[in-house]
């Protein structure tokens, strides 16, 4: 349900943007929720 998201994020950053800084887990989730704030997911009936 999202437990592995941070780990995946770290791996993706290492793979796609090696050498660039990686957010801490706390910062990462802040970023995720900030993104969700401006792009809400739809829920159906």
């Amino acid at each position: 349900m999202g437990d592995s998201h941070y780990q995946r994020y770290v791996e993706h950053r290492r793979r796609a943007h090696p050498g660039e800084p990686v957010l801490s887990e706390r910062e990462y989730w802040k970023m995720r929720y900030a993104a969700a704030d401006s792009r809400p997911g739809m829920r159906c009936c």
């Binding site: 437990d3 993706h12 792009r39």
Partner: protein, 756 residues
């Protein structure tokens, strides 16, 4: 680069990396032929048991078997046909998730996780409510429509909209209609989506209000979800970020405690006065909640509630399926009731065609899914070939939920069913008058007594169950019968309130997420008008966010209040409007899919989306026509409007279900709004459909706008297509694991050297 090994072709996009795609052309094995033959035979037997049994009670397990066997055959053969002839997945091409991976909305996600996400997003209260209401026509029409409708219409829509969106960076329905069919059709589609959403939110909120009104136990347990969600949000923000499963388990335990303690709270004097709310008060609470959820940051309330509701949704549905298989209840409802023929049932008015197909939208064909299949899900898809599992398979699962909801309504005593579901104007709200009313309906079985009705309410820990319309209480009573299998009859009040809580939780999740989505749609649409409104494009502009939220909440809130105070009973006037709206959205989605299929030149296979489209148009436009033009005031909004207007002009103060002048005015106003909305929906959809026809004709004559597909990018990752990987897929996965591990090792080594 392709290499062949017997019937299997491996495709590489990089000669140094393992294959990214497998094309398996092996013919079907004899063993599989036998297995599918047996499944088909078992399904046929189950269908025969359901359809042909007369005079005796059918076992509800046959519903489940017939549905599952049909789903398996449809998924293996029909969905495969659609895959081969229309979708033609190319796993050597990267999906939007791979190309645009950005750690937020574009992320290649494990297919099993994505299946769960997609299912949780599409399945809400709709498939639980519609089948319950449709039970007034007997179980057979409902079962057939839910299963066949899903196989040939609902799943096809979800699958193909996903296909169209994946080839366009996960664009939304409105954007794709504009790109493929021009700006007029696009604008109509966007307006239609917005108006339809307002109705959806209002009707779902109405279902919650009807389930919770005057039930302190229910209101307490739902109210507790808010502090629980706030706690979860703060926990994830400040204590242990990212521990989603952990906090969800804590939340679910707290929620169960809230349901258990609700009984005690309801029996205290303060509990009864704080939480025993009238429908109007309750509506205002939900309106305020919807507004708050729309303007508060998502981490605080919306996201944690979403975790809770997803967990509850999946868990309870599995529990219910196990319960039905273990309890094997007998069906009390007739196969086809006399209301199916006369069209005079109290739950919703109108004949079987079109109104049964309107009442059961979610579970058979739900246009709203096209908003999930475009937009969210395509941005998480790892491989194109997984679309069959996610799109088609996800909808089959929702259809199965609808079958279970139908089962719970079918096993209830039929007199009791009408006591719960007929509007208060008919039942008269006392046990004696309700018994009198249902005994006059001509139902089979022994007549109901007032004592039985009172006892049925006591059995589930409620004061009254008379005219608790909206489907949720009926489902909860049915579920309490099924789940009463776990732990005996003494637990029935718990299971009843558990079921109410379970439905209310995810209806409120739809209400809060939907209000927020509608707010964004509104600010997006308004900002396109230009001028000072352009400022609305910035979502962090608080004044804009607040005023758009206020407009959205006012729109659905007023429809909700209208339904709650409707003298005719809100559910039976508003639910058809919701069903029509939902399926008109499906017409827009299927028009888009058909246009794309024509543009791709797959004319031989146009019937796959075109048949459900034409069926859906026939159903929804007939229903709209009857709602607008029918001279029967029970069916037609305008006929009723004029009838009450004439009564008012004639100076009457009591007319039909209206007990005073105020109520007569309410009916005149409500029918005006409902009639106007019916016209607006139908006109918008006809515009989109005609736009689709025009584009299709231009394309067929050799002109017309080009397809707006993205140009393909080669993929650099691999993932299996189905739920269970094949042997070849497992082998390729192993190769990828080896490559990724060796990369990780070499990286670790280089990091190590750098540190020295």
């Amino acid at each position: 680069m392709e290499e062949r090994d017997g019937d299997i072709t491996y495709i590489r996009t990089d000669k140094d990396l393992p294959p990214v795609a497998i094309i398996d052309r092996s013919p079907i094995k004899t063993r599989h032929k036998i297995i599918f033959g047996v499944i088909a035979l078992l399904g046929a037997v189950a269908w025969a048991m359901i359809a042909l049994a007369r005079g005796e009670h059918v076992n509800a397990v046959w519903f489940v078997i017939a549905a599952i066997c049909t789903y398996v055959i449809a998924y293996r053969f029909y969905a495969r046909l659609i895959e081969m002839k229309i979708v033609r997945p190319r796993d050597d091409e990267a999906t939007p998730a791979e190309v645009f991976e950005n750690d937020t909305d574009y992320m290649p996600t494990d297919r099993r996780v994505l299946f769960g996400h997609h299912f949780a997003a599409i399945a809400g209260a709709g498939p639980l409510v519609g089948p319950v209401l449709a039970m007034q026509m007997g179980y057979l029409p409902g079962v057939i429509w839910i299963v066949i409708g899903a196989v040939f219409a609902g799943c096809v829509q979800d699958y193909l909209v996903l296909w169209v969106s994946v080839r366009r960076r996960g664009r939304t329905l409105g954007q794709m209609v504009r790109d493929e069919m021009g700006s007029v059709a696009g604008a109509s589609a966007i307006v239609a989506v917005f108006v339809i959403m307002i109705i959806l939110l209002a009707v779902l909120a109405l279902v919650v209000v009807q389930a919770l009104a005057q039930s302190p136990w229910g209101v307490f347990s739902i109210a507790m979800t808010i502090p629980i969600a706030l706690f979860m949000g703060l926990y994830l923000r400040f204590l242990r970020p990212g521990r989603v499963s952990e906090v969800t388990v804590i939340g679910v335990v707290l929620l169960l405690l809230a349901v258990v303690s609700g009984n005690w709270v309801a029996h205290t004097s303060w509990g009864a006065s704080w939480f025993g709310l009238s429908p109007v008060t309750l509506s205002w609470c939900i309106i305020v909640y919807g507004f708050a959820a729309s303007v508060l940051p998502v981490w605080l309330l919306l996201a944690p509630r979403d975790y809770l509701s997803t967990f509850m949704k999946v868990g309870t549905i599995c529990l219910l399926a196990v319960g039905i298989l273990l309890a094997r209840p007998l069906v009390q409802a007739p196969a086809v009731s006399h209301f199916a023929i006369s069209g005079t049932g109290p739950v919703f008015a109108g004949s079987l065609f079109p109104f049964l197909f309107i009442t059961i939208a979610c579970g058979a064909l739900s246009g709203f899914h096209s908003l999930i299949s475009s937009g969210t899900t395509p941005k998480l898809l790892t491989k194109q070939s997984q679309m069959r599992l996610i799109g088609y398979g996800g909808m089959l699962t929702e259809s199965f939920v609808a079958i279970m909801a139908l089962t719970t309504a079918a096993i209830i005593n039929q007199h009791l069913y009408f006591v719960i579901n007929a509007p208060a104007a008919q039942t008269g709200t006392t046990a004696a008058s309700a018994a009198n009313y249902v005994n006059g309906l001509g139902l089979s079985g022994p007549p109901a007594t007032a004592a039985q009705i009172t006892q049925a309410a006591h059995d589930v820990g409620e004061k009254t169950i008379i005219s608790r319309t909206g489907g949720a209480p009926t489902l909860a009573i049915g579920m309490s019968q099924v789940l009463g299998f776990f732990g005996g009859g003494g637990l029935r009040p718990f299971w009843y309130h558990f079921a109410i809580m379970f439905e209310a939780v995810f209806i409120l999740t739809t209400v809060d997420a939907g209000t927020r989505v509608a707010r964004f749609m509104l600010s997006d649409g308004l900002s396109n008008l230009g001028g000072p409104l352009r400022k609305l494009r910035d979502p962090s502009w608080r004044i804009g966010a607040w005023s758009c939220s206020l407009i959205v909440v006012a729109a659905w809130g007023s429809v909700l209040l209208m339904g709650v105070t409707d003298p005719l009973g809100g559910i039976n006037t508003l639910f058809p409007l919701f069903g029509i709206a939902n399926q008109l959205l499906a017409a827009i989605a299927l028009t888009l899919v058909s246009v794309v299929v024509i543009k791709k030149g797959y004319l031989n296979w146009l019937w796959i989306p075109a048949i459900p489209l034409l069926w859906d148009l026939a159903v929804t436009l007939t229903a709209s026509w009857q709602k607008i033009f029918s001279a029967d005031p029970k069916v037609g909004y305008w006929a009723q409007h004029h009838q009450f207007q004439q009564a008012r002009h004639a100076g009457k103060t009591v007319f039909g279900s209206a007990k005073n002048l105020h109520q007569i005015d309410a009916v005149i106003r409500n029918t005006f709004i409902q009639g106007t909305l019916s016209i607006v929906f139908a006109v918008l959809v006809v515009i989109v459909f005609v736009g689709g026809i025009i584009v299709a004709l231009r394309v067929l004559r050799g002109g017309g706008p080009a397809l707006s597909e993205d140009s393909p990018v080669p993929s650099r990752l691999f993932a299996p297509s189905g739920l269970v990987p094949t042997r070849a897929e497992r082998e390729v996965e192993r190769q990828w694991d080896a490559v990724l591990n060796s990369h990780a090792k070499s990286r670790a080594k280089s990091v190590g050297t750098a540190a020295h």
